[in-house]
Symmetry: C2
Subunit: 457 residues, 2 copies
Amino acid sequence: MTDTPAARQRHRVVIIGSGFGGLFGAQRLAHADVDVTLVARTTHHLFQPLLYQVATGILSEGEIAPATREVLAHQQNAEVLLGEVTKIDLEARTVTHTAVGRDTVTEYDSLIVAAGAGQSYFGNDRFARYAPGMKSIDDALELRGRIFGSFELAELASTPAEIQRLMTFVVVGAGPTGVEMAGQIAELAHRTLKRDFRRIDPANSRIILLDAAPAVLPSFGERLGSRAQAKLREMGVEVRLGAKVVGVDSTGIEVEHGDGTHERIEAVCKVWAAGVSASPLGVQLAEQSGAELDRAGRVLVQPDLTLPGRPEVFVIGDMMALDRLPGVAQVAIQGARYAADQITRRVAAEPPLGPFHYRDKGSMATISRFSAVVSIGKFQSSGFFAWVMWLAVHLVYIIGFKHRITTLLHWAISFLGRGRAERVMTQQQVFARTAIEDLGESFDPQLPRVPGDRPAS
Amino acid sequence: MTDTPAARQRHRVVIIGSGFGGLFGAQRLAHADVDVTLVARTTHHLFQPLLYQVATGILSEGEIAPATREVLAHQQNAEVLLGEVTKIDLEARTVTHTAVGRDTVTEYDSLIVAAGAGQSYFGNDRFARYAPGMKSIDDALELRGRIFGSFELAELASTPAEIQRLMTFVVVGAGPTGVEMAGQIAELAHRTLKRDFRRIDPANSRIILLDAAPAVLPSFGERLGSRAQAKLREMGVEVRLGAKVVGVDSTGIEVEHGDGTHERIEAVCKVWAAGVSASPLGVQLAEQSGAELDRAGRVLVQPDLTLPGRPEVFVIGDMMALDRLPGVAQVAIQGARYAADQITRRVAAEPPLGPFHYRDKGSMATISRFSAVVSIGKFQSSGFFAWVMWLAVHLVYIIGFKHRITTLLHWAISFLGRGRAERVMTQQQVFARTAIEDLGESFDPQLPRVPGDRPAS
């Protein structure tokens, strides 16, 4: 509590968020003459690209979410505080964060805002209850419970319609997360659960991947997109493009096709991997600095990633809008390092860096075990070789030696064998959070449906 | 849904529960001429002796809780159904079980009731909110959130009293689970978290192990009990014996000492590892068969583990009262195998086995890494050698090859290194289930306390 005079003199950097931007920013400041305070509302750093593997029972949550303070334990100039930031005061240079109902105010000399993005339901937030997103460990565990739980309930169901509805899985959004989820649910149904049931055959599951856009993995280009689509079809995933979701309720989903016709798909388990909206903190930053927000709520930053008139405030990662850069880990990491270097130079009274330039390191997505797509500049690859690249890159990036080994083992179990080491559903997942009334209702066809707001079709 | 005539003719065995009794009973019937239906309210088998390692961040839930249907996938005569048994009708020979609000009735020819035991608060169920038990994965994850969360909140706290209260951990019950929990929390505080915090020093934590009885690990005998107690003291655990808990609230716990004096211990995080009470299904069995129940709600069975006048109904494991046998895994496993063998003989028209005889394979408990106590008949050992025995036995018993390897690795991380691979708290754990109001309240000393029912002292 009592700062030494020396500590008080140092330049104070506050970082909001423990994602790729927040964590890599803090680490980049390890040797700078600054004190770093990282404030985040979770106690872990989330390796989001592998969240779908937690949702489908391959990895444990610990394997993709090391404790932030453990990662930074040896960085003496960094501290980690649990708290949700509720207020940023650019004038007073303070951040207010709250944990279990109590506010703490932390002062800064430089601020890096890396609070990321949440799921967007495009104005239909009531969909969230019926189609959880894929943004947090809680989301992944919730979906794990729903996916495995659907098969459990199908085993108990008594009518063919009920069984079919429980064995139909709809993934909304054909970006990397949606493609990976659909591929993994297909693997679950066709391989993992092959011998687990007696009354149903999991291979009869329907896995449907929906997107309003006309292509799968549009950011990978047309060639890789159609390869991915072909591979998904081969795996038994029904790909429906140009299909806009207009209604979601406990027992199904309603889509509008390009020709204006409506279709209802009966499905208990829905996954929302469609839109993102930036942290609401962007609104405060915009109001106080005059910066503009784009449609997804991202802050339009200056070429040096700062707010207009506020050179001490950086906005990076999924919260930042600049040059149409995508919301991927590399943009956050490179932005974080740029901001950290800029602060380091300022504190050392060195000349500032030029504008931020993003170096595209390419992107990759797995379709199934042994099959991925990779796009690095002009280099494009799909299939097994791309999958080996995916494996190598992800192993290197997973933070912490220990996680790499157990992760490799869990992958061996799932990719070479048939098993899933992490299938646990807690009572919370099975009963509490999935809302008994929802499942109970969908489970019994006699009960009336939740009306939702489906347009009369 | 449509049984073949051949299937219909087979003897139907229903097993209630997926613990040691239920699972080992089902496996023992693999080659019997019967159809087995295992009904359980969780989808996993829980390796309960290692639950404390999930609560303290060493293992993931998947490592100690394989999916029951995965374990039984290759046993063609067994099926697994998710459901909580609400009714047993001994006359009609049916079991009614419910999942997400719908009842299913399953008929049996033989029944093995292995529904286990829950935590007992000795009539003070309101303690549960403030001091979670150690009986399920949900319990362990809840406690994981509370233990790690207490340190997170201490780092944010502003008064010495508040910090002390958040860094005081009380474990109630000095049996194996309580001793193991207390030992692991001490390791967390003194080793794992050593470098993780900047404002608090986790080594200043107080870990208090309470029991109303006069000894630690009474089932291990006086010599091993006092060795364990000495080792715990050496590790910084305060052992308080002859201390009966008379009140628990959000900020502390109140005990009554042997001399009648009362003491209040300020502590936010409390763990209840004290009593067990058998499944309430025992009451139904007793009412319908005339069997008696003991104080812990266990059913007094015949020498062949059946109910009086109901030779087709076996009650085993923690639900069974016979010859003062303890509620340990080996009693459940041996009882399950006996019941399965008895059923197999009956179906094959072979003469029945004689009365059940328990073969004591000994018991063991870890105190810390590299230190355990082991008692096998007259053989007693404590320290490193006992710990190696503990390690070997637990590795062999953990079900499934894959879990063994990752478990070994996680143990290497925690025992040889300092890390904990599984420290994730979900939002549910941190905020929802620990009840914001409780922590918020304990977090701010100005707010009034929950009165609880503490006697005026």
